[in-house]
């Protein structure tokens, strides 16, 4: 750290020289000002640790300079020592009133000056400590807030995960499990069946197996479409749009080439796929329209995603907790993959979601 600055404001060059000489070994870097206005300017610029201020100056006198220095919030706490030739009670009272902290009389006594400065240094150290403490307290407060947010998010993640597991368990138990039980019961009948009944039984078993296969296939697609891993994001999105069209009548206009097998980092591919899936689900649920636009802008250094609808829209500040959780999960997913997330919506004006992900050099995963 550089030396703290001590600013001498005095119109008398001889007095300034004398002070500079006295202070040469004080550990301060000395700055001089030859008038009140110059002193105020330098003080604002340099933020000195101590100001020595002469009372008797032409133009702005020391009292006025002192008042103006105190008006600057950045200088409100800076120690100001007034230099006064008149060691009388009245000028000291006026000085105190103007905001001075201490006094020094001319001619200067080096021992006295040293003691005054030592005291001021101590005060300055305490002030720095206090500032440091305030900064630490603020940093601590921010950290706590971030911690709380992190805790909230991980609780949300756990909740979402648990809900997903519950849904899966139910699906496995109620659907797949029941169908398998039915199949087993059916096959156990084989011993008391005559050949025609056996034929019928096998036919029925085949039907159940076919249903079962379709069920498991759907379940696995819901969890994670293999096409995302096998052929990449663009093929997976093409598949996703067709699936939305089949299942919900939502038509998605887009600029995706289903045979473009460009790959992006895995985390980004997953984040973009889920972001679009979630956004399209929201459009189906809330927007009240059957059209959406999804575009990818693929540049050498970044991937930008835009999801757009001209539906009902909403006030982002006034949505149900469940929806707000959904949105913050989207935001968080994008952030975790290194992207920026933007949402723009207003009642009656549709919704625009965009995300931008920086791509690594060379654009390869």
């Amino acid at each position: 750290m550089s030396e703290p600055i001590l600013l001498v404001i005095d119109d008398d060059p001889v007095a300034r020289q004398a002070l500079t000489a006295l202070l040469s070994a004080s550990g301060y870097s000395i700055e001089e000002a030859a008038s009140g206005p110059e002193g105020i300017r330098k003080a604002a610029l340099l933020h000195p640790e101590v100001i020595l201020l002469d009372v008797m100056m032409p133009g702005l006198d020391g009292y006025e300079v002192c008042r103006r220095l105190r008006d600057d919030p950045a200088l409100a706490e800076t120690p100001i020592i007034m230099i006064t030739a008149l060691d009388d009670r009245e000028s000291r009272l006026r000085g105190l009133e103007a905001g001075a902290d201490d006094f020094l009389s001319k001619p200067f006594d080096s021992a006295e000056l040293e003691i005054r400065l030592r005291t001021l240094k101590k005060v300055a150290r305490y002030r720095h400590l206090l500032e440091e403490r305030a900064r630490l307290a603020e940093a601590y407060r921010q950290l706590e807030a971030q911690n709380a947010e992190l805790k909230r998010l991980s609780e949300e993640v756990l909740l979402v995960q648990e809900n997903e597991r519950r849904r899966l368990a139910m699906e496995l138990h109620d659907e797949v499990g029941q169908m398998l039980t039915g199949l087993k019961l059916l096959l156990e009948n084989r011993e008391n069946a005559d050949p025609p009944a056996l034929q019928a039984l096998c036919g029925r078993a085949l039907e159940i197996t076919t249903d079962l296969l379709a069920r498991v296939r759907e379940l696995s697609l819901d969890l994670r479409p293999t096409v995302l891993d096998d052929f990449g994001l663009l093929a997976a999105l093409d598949w996703l749009f067709k699936r939305f069209e089949q299942q919900t009548a939502l038509r998605v206009s887009h600029n995706i080439d289903p045979f473009d097998e460009r790959r992006f980092p895995k985390a980004i591919e997953t984040a973009v796929f889920r972001l679009i899936q979630e956004a399209l689900t929201n459009i189906v649920r809330h927007a009240g329209v059957q059209e959406a636009t999804v575009t990818l802008n693929i540049e050498p250094d970044r991937l930008e995603v835009t999801i757009l609808d001209s539906g009902a829209g909403f006030d982002p500040g006034q949505i149900s907790p469940a929806r707000s959780t959904g949105l913050s999960a989207m935001r968080e997913r994008v952030r975790l993959a290194g992207g920026d997330f933007h949402l723009q919506s207003a009642p009656g004006e549709g919704t625009l979601i965009s995300a931008r992900f920086p791509l690594p050099e060379g654009g390869k995963p």
Binding site: A214, T226, N255, L308, L352
Partner: protein, 215 residues
């Protein structure tokens, strides 16, 4: 008549066994080998020269699509029919591009598998009924006419496309047209979706081709 010789390649033994049982019940088909991954399928095909290879799409050690590609590169005469869990046109089209003649969903009716084998043996194609439509749609939707013409854009969109092609940022365009940046962003997305273009460079190229801006 000599039976059609078959090689089965699937990483699930149970599936191979089931298939083999069904196929061997027919006198005009003969299973001459089984492979558990793509590399083995390639090896056995080269050694046994079956008439038809029944190939799973996704397998460990060289997936089916890659195996089919290499088969063709090596000039092997064996015809390939894919048997797949994926009722997905994306898989089917890629599989057919690799040189295969058939693509059948595993849980399709067994008669479909037979039909695909007979067709392949005669050098004809077969696609499972369940996804035939999707496959055609995917191929047609992607056939050539990638970027449309300027006519499909609204006047406002043409104006914005021109400004983009001239190198203006969204913010600059917003300022020029006194629109919000988000509105410009939305227009840009609609333009890119309509033209099926997905990069700035392509947008500029298109605008130049259409005479909207000077090269």
């Amino acid at each position: 008549m000599t039976p059609i010789t078959l090689l089965l390649a699937d990483d699930h033994k149970l599936v191979r066994q089931g298939l083999r049982a069904m196929l061997e019940a027919r006198s005009d088909l003969k299973v001459i080998g089984e492979a558990a991954d793509g590399a083995e399928a390639l090896d056995l095909t080269a050694r046994l020269c079956p008439d038809v290879l029944l190939l799973d799409v996704m397998m460990p050690n060289l997936n089916g699509i890659e195996a089919a590609r290499q088969l063709r590169q090596r000039g092997l005469k064996t015809r390939v029919v894919f048997l797949s869990m994926h009722a997905n046109a994306g898989y089917a089209v890629r599989a057919l591009h690799s040189g295969a003649l058939g693509y059948v969903i595993k849980d399709a009716d067994f008669s479909e598998i037979l039909q695909a084998i007979y067709n392949a043996a005669e050098g004809r194609r077969y696609i499972s009924a369940e996804i035939a439509d999707q496959v055609l749609e995917l191929l047609l939707s992607n056939n050539g006419d990638k970027a449309g013409s300027l006519d499909i854009l609204s006047p406002r969109e043409r104006e914005i496309l021109q400004l983009i092609a001239e190198g203006n940022t969204n913010a600059a365009i917003a300022k020029k047209l006194t629109l919000s940046v988000r509105t410009v962003e939305a227009h840009r997305a609609r333009i890119m979706a309509k033209l099926r273009i997905n990069s700035q460079a392509e947008l500029v190229r298109f605008a130049v081709q259409q005479g909207l801006v000077e090269a």
